[in-house]
Point group: D4
Chain length 245, copies 8
Amino acid sequence: MDLQDVLEDVAAGETTVEEARRAIDGYTRVDDFARLDTGRADRAGIPEVVLGDGKSIEHLRSIALSFLEERGHVVLTRVDEAAVDTLDGVAHDIDWYPESRILVLQTAAYEPPEPDGTVAVVSGGTADVPVAEEAAVTAREMGCTVETFYDVGVAGIHRILSEADALARTDAVVVAAGREGALPTVVAGLVDVPVIGLPVSIGYGHGGGGEAALAGMLQSCTVLSTVNIDAGFVAGAQAAQIART
Amino acid sequence: MDLQDVLEDVAAGETTVEEARRAIDGYTRVDDFARLDTGRADRAGIPEVVLGDGKSIEHLRSIALSFLEERGHVVLTRVDEAAVDTLDGVAHDIDWYPESRILVLQTAAYEPPEPDGTVAVVSGGTADVPVAEEAAVTAREMGCTVETFYDVGVAGIHRILSEADALARTDAVVVAAGREGALPTVVAGLVDVPVIGLPVSIGYGHGGGGEAALAGMLQSCTVLSTVNIDAGFVAGAQAAQIART
Amino acid sequence: MDLQDVLEDVAAGETTVEEARRAIDGYTRVDDFARLDTGRADRAGIPEVVLGDGKSIEHLRSIALSFLEERGHVVLTRVDEAAVDTLDGVAHDIDWYPESRILVLQTAAYEPPEPDGTVAVVSGGTADVPVAEEAAVTAREMGCTVETFYDVGVAGIHRILSEADALARTDAVVVAAGREGALPTVVAGLVDVPVIGLPVSIGYGHGGGGEAALAGMLQSCTVLSTVNIDAGFVAGAQAAQIART
Amino acid sequence: MDLQDVLEDVAAGETTVEEARRAIDGYTRVDDFARLDTGRADRAGIPEVVLGDGKSIEHLRSIALSFLEERGHVVLTRVDEAAVDTLDGVAHDIDWYPESRILVLQTAAYEPPEPDGTVAVVSGGTADVPVAEEAAVTAREMGCTVETFYDVGVAGIHRILSEADALARTDAVVVAAGREGALPTVVAGLVDVPVIGLPVSIGYGHGGGGEAALAGMLQSCTVLSTVNIDAGFVAGAQAAQIART
Amino acid sequence: MDLQDVLEDVAAGETTVEEARRAIDGYTRVDDFARLDTGRADRAGIPEVVLGDGKSIEHLRSIALSFLEERGHVVLTRVDEAAVDTLDGVAHDIDWYPESRILVLQTAAYEPPEPDGTVAVVSGGTADVPVAEEAAVTAREMGCTVETFYDVGVAGIHRILSEADALARTDAVVVAAGREGALPTVVAGLVDVPVIGLPVSIGYGHGGGGEAALAGMLQSCTVLSTVNIDAGFVAGAQAAQIART
Amino acid sequence: MDLQDVLEDVAAGETTVEEARRAIDGYTRVDDFARLDTGRADRAGIPEVVLGDGKSIEHLRSIALSFLEERGHVVLTRVDEAAVDTLDGVAHDIDWYPESRILVLQTAAYEPPEPDGTVAVVSGGTADVPVAEEAAVTAREMGCTVETFYDVGVAGIHRILSEADALARTDAVVVAAGREGALPTVVAGLVDVPVIGLPVSIGYGHGGGGEAALAGMLQSCTVLSTVNIDAGFVAGAQAAQIART
Amino acid sequence: MDLQDVLEDVAAGETTVEEARRAIDGYTRVDDFARLDTGRADRAGIPEVVLGDGKSIEHLRSIALSFLEERGHVVLTRVDEAAVDTLDGVAHDIDWYPESRILVLQTAAYEPPEPDGTVAVVSGGTADVPVAEEAAVTAREMGCTVETFYDVGVAGIHRILSEADALARTDAVVVAAGREGALPTVVAGLVDVPVIGLPVSIGYGHGGGGEAALAGMLQSCTVLSTVNIDAGFVAGAQAAQIART
Amino acid sequence: MDLQDVLEDVAAGETTVEEARRAIDGYTRVDDFARLDTGRADRAGIPEVVLGDGKSIEHLRSIALSFLEERGHVVLTRVDEAAVDTLDGVAHDIDWYPESRILVLQTAAYEPPEPDGTVAVVSGGTADVPVAEEAAVTAREMGCTVETFYDVGVAGIHRILSEADALARTDAVVVAAGREGALPTVVAGLVDVPVIGLPVSIGYGHGGGGEAALAGMLQSCTVLSTVNIDAGFVAGAQAAQIART
């Protein structure tokens, strides 16, 4: 239904007021929702992300194809190599990040977002890299330049200090850290750009699985926001939102 | 010590290489630290914030005076009216927010940051307002225009929907919510600007004290970062950082 | 704005299609929200409930007056006797339940919901009564007949067994229990009507404060739903919803 | 023993008062229990449900056969396809729900409950569907008409809004949600029928495994009761109890 | 109703079988419950215990008087000295244990249980004594001889070793311990009599409030059962049950 | 060394006082410990129990053989059938309980403890039986007569009520229960003999894995002690200790 | 009893072997324990520490006097000024640390331990100082030289870096930190001497009360041991043990 | 760059003051960091330790080779036998500890630290040995003499008592304990040398996985520091640090 047509019909006397009212009652509901929906669909480059964990390969393939058709682009996280084999060939471009188990597919027609903004992704140890990489891939897919600073943990504090100036030149910083999770606090004490803490589920015993890191980031005495444990996609997407404003 | 002078003295033969080296060894350490320190001191308007909880009035007064002297400006949070009485008159300007128990003091010479950026502060219920207000005051002290949207909780979902456009026109959104903490997720599903969740320590029983709200924000299926329970200052300061970039 | 008028004006040529469209765009948003809002306001007798904990007497008085004016009726929970004194005289009817600290106010013009449905409220020990009473008052204010069965805990199992038939004749049962919280399970094993568990924050040590009771109800091997610890209002309101359908 | 016979024997002088008394002492015990037991066995259609997790196929088969013989009907939850193969042919009717891993068996002689009442089952994302489906199958086996509303999560709030009227026409609503678990709160804010929250064990990190969803539902500022994480059977059975009253 | 009378009336032809049956249906229910109730009332000396915490003095007084009338004896735990003043004079005998805040009242007619069995009550530090004393008073009121071994904690392991023989001569041992709660494990490794661990809510920081002690007792590699934190009455009563068998 | 000999040598002048003193210093230490050790070895029938979980078959076999040689008897818990095959033939008697995965081995020379005392082992559902059986086997190996009451859970409360008299005739009762763990409370409300709660690690979601059951038993309003989740051996051994005194 | 005498009496024929044996049996037990006890009493200067929290002033006074008499020295922690007034005059020397609420008393005859070893006490913020001071006082009372480094938190990382050399020259380092507790990790990454983390119960919200700090120290990727939250005495005493070896 | 050269060039007029300043600005940063780095690399024998868990064999091999080249020595923990096979032959010396799954590799040129200090490693049960062994290997690789005292748990308290003197002669004691974790408290009550508690992740049910042991060590009433659950490397390394000072 087209509101313009209805009103023109009313004006032309081709529709009674009563009929028009019924039509509009339906329209307003539908249109209102549609507006919201389109707003959502048009968002500046937050990629559709599908969590692979616990999904069968057939299910993943079917979801991926549907997003490719609709959006021309899809990011699959936590997928196995078997999924890569299955999806090989379904898209024009396919990028596979084996360490972080991320798969990015896009059609030939897909137009990536305009390049804009720089995001730094920092990690404390090599074990944090897969989660950090999920943030990096996300920000890159959203059109940001991504600079990575890996293996700069607090136990050797000089490593992060020597990168302070480089970090300060970016627009937003994601800091991935497991175990005691102190790195985001140190970084936020060094630079003025917004810093997002990304706790990583490494570390065993009390406070293991990322819980100590999360709690430490929430308790930080600096200005720092946080995402959930291992939520690399959320950290990368918010950093890109910030970097692009 | 001034490195320039030392080197000029070496060039002029007034200082031996050995003496210069010793001086520089000390200097580099000190200067390096000083540089970091100054970097910290010069940060674009993150105000010095003093937590009043558990400090005696004399202690608060002495800290406040020392910051006023050094920075010309100080924000005291969670202070009682008795503190306001004690500090009345010590500063040129004094702003007291009784509901959120925040006190802002500044000298006549203090130059507030240049106005820049707009931050929205949203809250679900009247009980969330004191914490939301802490975020609002912080962002305002950092030079941002702050728009507040209070009492727009998810139980009456239409209230927040009707504000979607207004929210979308700001640069960053802080959403304070206690109990089930669903409001930041709804807001982040409506707008494209970065959203920071601010859990509030209301609600009793299981998940009370803000823990359900915090967990819900971390689990959110939208793009959302989070600060600790009741950390209004952190949320407001990061929103201002984002809004000002 | 009235859609009928707009459309009639269009039909009469007194409004252009363009003007009408702008009006309707606004209307649909507003009307859609208004519809939801009215839906909420008209709900069959869920009373407006105000939590007294942590509110000043002035604040409580002002909220109570505003609800009385708007709805003719308000329930205040967890209030002190001082609040009762303050509010004495502001309403036509005032009911004060000192043990459960509930205060019900209503104007002369207030029309309570039509009587319908019977709710049983069961509690294990005298310490559970204040919370149980909160459920009972809520259901009664929603127009239900309420039958109470207090002090029928599982340690003397015969006490609840002897009430099985009486419970089975009600439409919904709220069972308040602290400590080990086994009573709702026993009741749900005896009767066919829907049973709602209401954990009570009594009991010290491990699992104290109602957490053991809540966990036990969630783990129950019978058909039983649960509300939060001490959430007497929610239990009573849902029981009344069920009893009135 | 038959009480009638004893009393007639006493009346006829064929039994002494003493003998009768001893017989009745035993009888009352037995009869009292029997009465309770029969009450339980006759309950209106709560199906016998067997949890498949951790049981061997032989054990499951033997339990299923015993219930089929006794009740003519059994529901097995969380079973593997191997169990389906094993049980194929043992019953007249066999329904297999592979996604939610539920198996329903019934004999030819089994008379299902009279159709009565309508239950809505709502879920936020496709990952919640298996648990939601457990609730739906349960309510259907108890004689209710079940309407499902899947994939209507809060991140795209318009999806659930557009179903508000349809939900309001049912007799009880089960809302399954994982992660932040906000959907039941939104639904309970839209409709007047009793709403039961069903937390789902999806989501990783802090508050993962359904704990954030559970806590959020318990903290809800609406009228909402809750069952344990993944307890689809309990939610469906209580919704059916409500819908059938 | 008296079953004897009913049956005699039937035998005498003064009551029809039908009337008798109706009477007995009621009777059996009531009598069955009464039997259980009496069984409970006759239990070998488990004293009625009233928790004073959170009860008003008037409430305590009224409960105490009602138990005195019915049972001739009552134990009040966690009461203040004000309660002692109020109850002074209401009973023939009054025993006040100020450190553990226990008050024992009994009438002149009260016949305490026959002396039988010996219970040892052990505690690690002086801070554990009030809770240990609650166990000791309870066992004594149940007719046991109680031997106390206070201040024999594991940090000076020789203190408990030197008491091994004395402990081994009792019938049951209660070991109260806070902080790390290791003492019950050491005792259970020394003696053959049943040992009941009684965690005490002392200790701050992680595992404080008795949680570490409770967990340690549950994890004990010896044969040891446990009661809840500070549950001196339960530990003492079970020890007395054991000692008296 | 033999103290008697040393002293006789001193008396006979064959040993100097100095040599004797050195010998005794060593002796007292060794002897003191030996006394304790022997005390431990002689304990009335607490069988040596080896936890099979996580041990290799070779390791288990070697431990089992060493205990058989030393004590003539050993109980292995949580072992797989492979262990049974490996140990088949090493002992005169071998008892294998497949459901509870317990293996009891004894030599021909082993003299079991004198029969004494009766222990009741109660369980709520079939899922609790393996853990209940661990308690039963332990008590039986310690010389007690064991009576089992399985599948008498609180959801059908009459089942346990009908066993009240039988339970009351035993010397100690172990009640195994998972999920909400209410059964031990009901049993302890029915009988006077000491009751030991045994939480079982069944149940999923919040409070799953036996935590709700444990907390409920600790919170019980009856006289009840508790052992750790799944600690069937500890419960059975303490019940036997009690039954044998 | 003196073993030497007994043996000499045996050698001299003044005691029979039998009498000697009985004496020695007692002796060995008593002496063995005594030896341990004396060992404990003689420990190199671990002062007797009394926790003031929750003790009445009379109780504190009596404990303090008894230690003064026995040991000549006592440390009271967490005491109020009222305790200081009460104890004023009972000892030759009295030291009162108002910020950390520690009171040290000693007699004129008391000989403090020989000065030996240097302990560094580091703290991140002024709020950590009272707990840090408890460690410092303890180490000082044990004879160590104590150097304090306060207000050197990680948010301004240069502050602790500039103290690296001074820290490296001590024998043991205690690092007190609340909130995110990252400082001990940074210190342990800078110096080679043993570092003990001391979590402090500051910080609100998730991970507050020192729990995040404790978990972070346990998760530290450096070599670091930890004591409980606020356990300043334990940290100071172990640092002194290390520094004095 | 060499500061000496720069200054000499300035003195010789071959470099302008401006050029020198730029060079020094860079130098100071780099040099400062280098100094810290070297400090770290030179640390007295804390071996580089690589956690094998979750790393592929190729990854482990590559890390091991890189450390061997750089440091001549590497310790791999939690590795499988497959890793041993892969690394066989890459180093001059290879030590494989199968029970604790530790692999130590060193080149022919590697010079181990000078032997110094004695560390005792104590464990309560055989299940604690693998973690205890990790501490022992670490201390040995750091040049300490290691004495082990295994299977001396508190349930048979005499076993540890008989080793008190031997323990007191070492320089530092690591005590590994799972379940209730009481052993470190007992040891710290017996000896004066610094004791480090090492909780072990054995034990099931409440407080299992080492949490009860950790909490108990933190709550210990003796002087005791603690490391994380299963952190054998940290405990061994700190004990060696202490033993070598």
